[in-house]
Amino acid sequence: MLELDAIHTHYGLSHVLQGVSFTVAKGEVVGLFGRNGVGKTTLIKTVAGWVRPSSGRLRFEGEDIAGLASDRICRRGIGLVPEDRRVLPGLTVEENLRLGLMQAPGRAKAEAARAMQRTFERFPRLAERRSQMGTTLSGGEQQMLAIARVLVGAPRLLLIDEPSEGLAPMIADEIFALIHELRAEGIPVLLVEQNVMRALEVCDRFLALERGAVVFQGDARSSADRQRLIEVIAV
């Protein structure tokens, strides 16, 4: 579904991604782990179109998406839940969600209304706060909003970057439970997370990133693979 083949990305003078290759298949949740500064977030940004890869192939559902503008990539069905949530300031909760509908702009009004309705049912706390400014929500609620506004557009792949960062453990639990639900619904996810152990619980597979390249891929269920992952990303 998502294929990366020898992706290289530069930030000014620094060569961040140095040939990343992997795939995410239909219905699978893939964890992306590595130490700080190895390029996890850059990888997410590259897929989302915020950063243009300098070389390599990037395909989604068989079509080349490298170098496309972010909004184009989004409309192909890739939803982004970025680091720091990026809840849009100056927009109400409802407006944040409405923008999520832009992912499929051709949708009929009734259908869009149904999607909104479903989202509010799923996130009742957002429904309570629908006319509040998005930035006045608590951290956990903002994270919910960041995920909800992507889900409202019915994405075919989710990129989630550090969802539990800065959240109390109880709240983080809710987020992971949500990702677990997504997995059950068969929505593929590429997940970046510092809390590796918690993340592994919701993942099918994982990738270990080191110096801008994938050094190891493994099965999230296999304890041998988990052990090796710890060795690679700890130290």
Binding site: S70, R86, L88, P89, G90, L91, L99, M102, Q103
Partner: protein
């Protein structure tokens, strides 16, 4: 007592009423400017020339026998197309550079120079004045106000409210605000940011053109008319807070009243420096202006 009443009727009353009409004119100009700045971070130095272009288009259409009221609808549409094209053809080219504030400022400054000269080339240096579509004056509380100015105040008020509603109460407006605050995130939600930028520039330009049509019967039309309101509009935008619609409305009303009333006590030539002085003070003390940016209301 009669003396006080008389001074209210003849001096202060008209001053406030006239200031209100001028205030609406200034706010109409400032509105486009502040929206373009709030979203695009572009200081549009050619805004005044777009205003002039709107007025010239109206003069041309009226000259062709088109009804003035029809012009009010046609010109903004034409101006929006021109604005869209300008953004795509010019602003877009320097928009993604690091120095985009300065480069776009210089670019629109160049555009203003060209436009002013082009008006001279196309229409000659002499002024035009479309006949006011509403004539006569009404007396309200003993204050004489021309009917067209009453219409201007009403229409201007309606436009301001409509713009506010579009920006703050529609999904389109939400897209615009989202693109203003966080371009990348907005794009990743599927907002076509490039088109939103061009569309917003077009919207600002259309507002300038609309002001041109509305004000032409009062202020006449000539090549350098773009400079008339632009300084005051910039001042209003700065004092009100760059990108804030509410701020522009408040600042526009207050500053034009200050100018209008102060001209009773000091030589009118000093009322401009007075207002600029206020602007400089504001920049020193509160550079963000009265209200925040676009999106804060």
């Amino acid at each position: 007592m009669t003396e006080i009443l008389e001074s209210l009727q003849f001096v202060y009353g008209p001053q406030v009423a006239n200031g209100l009409a001028i205030g609406v004119a200034v706010i109409l100009m400032a509105l486009g400017l502040t929206i373009i700045f709030g979203l695009l971070d572009v200081i549009n130095m050619s805004h005044g020339e777009f205003y002039a272009l709107g007025a010239y288009l109206a003069v041309t259409l009226v000259g062709q026998g088109v009804n003035f009221w029809l012009c009010l609808a046609l010109v903004p549409v034409a101006m929006a197309a021109i604005g869209y094209f300008t953004e795509r053809a010019l602003i877009q080219r320097v928009f993604h550079t690091k120095d985009r504030h300065i480069l776009t400022l210089l670019l629109t400054f160049g555009l203003a120079i060209i436009a002013e000269d082009a008006f001279k080339l196309a229409y000659g240096p002499n002024p035009y004045k479309p006949e006011s579509p509403i004539s006569g004056a009404s007396e309200i509380l003993g204050i004489m106000l021309p009917n067209y100015r009453l219409f201007l105040i009403a229409a201007g008020g309606a436009i301001i409210v409509a713009v506010w509603l579009v920006v703050y109460r529609t999904t389109l407006g939400a897209m615009v605000r989202a693109a203003a605050w966080d371009k990348n995130m907005a794009a990743s939600l599927g907002v076509p940011v490039e088109r939103v930028y061009a569309g917003t520039f077009a919207f600002g330009v259309a507002l300038a053109g609309l002001s041109g049509v509305l004000l032409a019967p009062i202020y006449s039309v000539f090549p350098t008319m773009g400079k008339d309101f632009i300084l005051m509009a910039f001042t209003v935008v700065i004092v009100g807070g760059m990108g804030s619609i509410k701020g522009a409305v408040i600042a526009g009303l207050v500053l034009t009243q200050i100018q209008s009333i102060s001209s009773l006590f000091i030589s009118p030539v000093w009322s401009d420096p007075l207002v600029f002085g206020i602007m400089v003070l504001f920049l020193m003390v509160r550079p963000q202006g009265l209200a925040g940016r676009l999106g804060h209301g």
